[in-house]
Amino acid sequence: MSSTVANLEVKPAGAKRKHADRVLLSVIGYVTLTLLALFCLFPFVLILSSSLTEESSIIQYGFQIFPKAFSTEAYSLLFKYPADMLKAYSVTIFVTVVGTSCGLFLTAMTGYVLSRRDFKWRNHFSFFFFFTTLFSGGLVPWYLMIVNNLHLKDTILVLILPLLMNVFYIIVMKSFMSSIPDAINESAKIDGASDFLIFRKLIVPLSKPALATIGLFIALAYWNDWYNALLFISNSDLMPLQYYLYKMLGNMDGMRKAMMETGVVVNMDLPTESLKMAMTLVATGPVLVAYPFIQKYFVSGLTLGSVKG
């Protein structure tokens, strides 16, 4: 501060240097961020080009960023016998749609009750939910309960229920709804509206940004889930997409068998390597396509979450 006057006097030289510093930082910034962006995108390009490489070329030269021999064989095979993939797709879509709508509704409703400042036990219930993030019984009791007590093994419900609600989302929802003025609750109550009606008619419409964000987080979790299937699903009719991909990646014999069941005559050699990569892309496709449009909701979700309620 004391040097303000002095600085004013040397401004021309200082300004020049400052300008040079800015240029230097810009160079560092553009170069580094371009490299980081390429680092993040590179694997996707690699998967794409590998899936479009002729199998014999992969066997001979390995995966390559620029294919030596271009071929759409893997994709045509996938789309020629799509039964298994479609089945996995429909399981995932069903689970995602049902799980997200139920989960979002319950998360919002729970968040709303906890956001009500006039609710006497809000802190007790908040702690009841929050404690589950601090301590858990571990995998084994949880697993045994689902299998032996709830008998959910090999049911579609086991793909939905475990991901239905998440304390973190409830807290984000609660803090968002806490920012809605109390006056809205008060005046609606004076008009004789029930708590549920207030939630449905007033709070839900006002919470659209939070609902969109949390809904997408829940949907992404369902879409990418393979863990519950790994633990609980052995029936191939109930395999969700990511788990199906997991199985296929690890087990070429399984892939061959599956292809045989669906009618592919496997005297020919399957283009296994390019097929693995093609399957990976097809399983990720919808997320990659939706990504540019949904990205901003996730960004706002991160900032929602960093505001403590």
Partner: protein
Amino acid sequence: MNRHGFWSDVKKYKTLLLMLTPAVIFFLVFAYLPMAGIILAFKQYSYTGGVFGSPWNGLDNFRFFFNSGDAWRVTRNTALYNIAFIVVNNVLQIFAAILLFEAVGKWFRKLAQTAIFLPYFISWVVVGAIAYNLFNYDVGTLNVLLKGLGMTPIDVYNTPSYWPFILVVVSAWKALGYGSIMYLAAITGIDTEMYEAAEIDGANIFQRIMKITVPNLMPTVIILVLLAIGNIFRGDFGMFYNMVGNNGLLFSSTDVIDTFVFRSLTTSNEIGMSAAAGFYQSLLGFGTIIFANYAVRKYDKDRALF
């Protein structure tokens, strides 16, 4: 008098309580009931007896777990990996966030952000496929490159010593977007008047970053790091399982508590011992998170979890 008060409150909050009921049942069933199942850690599990009917065996499960040498190995791996992830990921994310904010134009910022956030959206299974593409001995891209450079190909899936490095890079890759956007939001929240004051004082852009941006970011960094330390004994199962799977050759450097518990449960069927290992992890986790919260509370009361 008190009881009367309670029941009239129940009546008063009838609708709100009803609205909470599904969530309460959900967490009772999926979180609190399994907590009771912790007693399995002290039992000799049998399928006929189940959780409550199986005979007690004291601390045998724990003795087995600790005497096998697995306990130390998986605990050490879990903690060391998480420490490496915390350090590398945060440094990289802060660095990227500062550059995104200070060094580049708006249009490029959007573009770069879109690119680095993408890995966050894909499942660990897909990451496993990418790893396969890169590291497969015969056809993997890495060995293609090495051969192209006239070097000997390396057998990644048979060499435990490569994996700490690989897993740190993969973790950084997946978390870069999420973290840098979070830090970017924190930087955006810094009072612009401070920047103007620095400008008037003749600070150059590097001084501005080091004297204003970084110090103002520190509270956020400290909180996030402390909370991450609270989870230091929780391994990211999805990552380890999809990158390494059941490849026993790599366990010495890649096995974490979560993968160990999973394997003991599903492949070797040692129910009692895996319950004991899980309970041990829960206790460690509970201890560290209480400690982390205490530290956060000391640092900034308002940002503590509880």
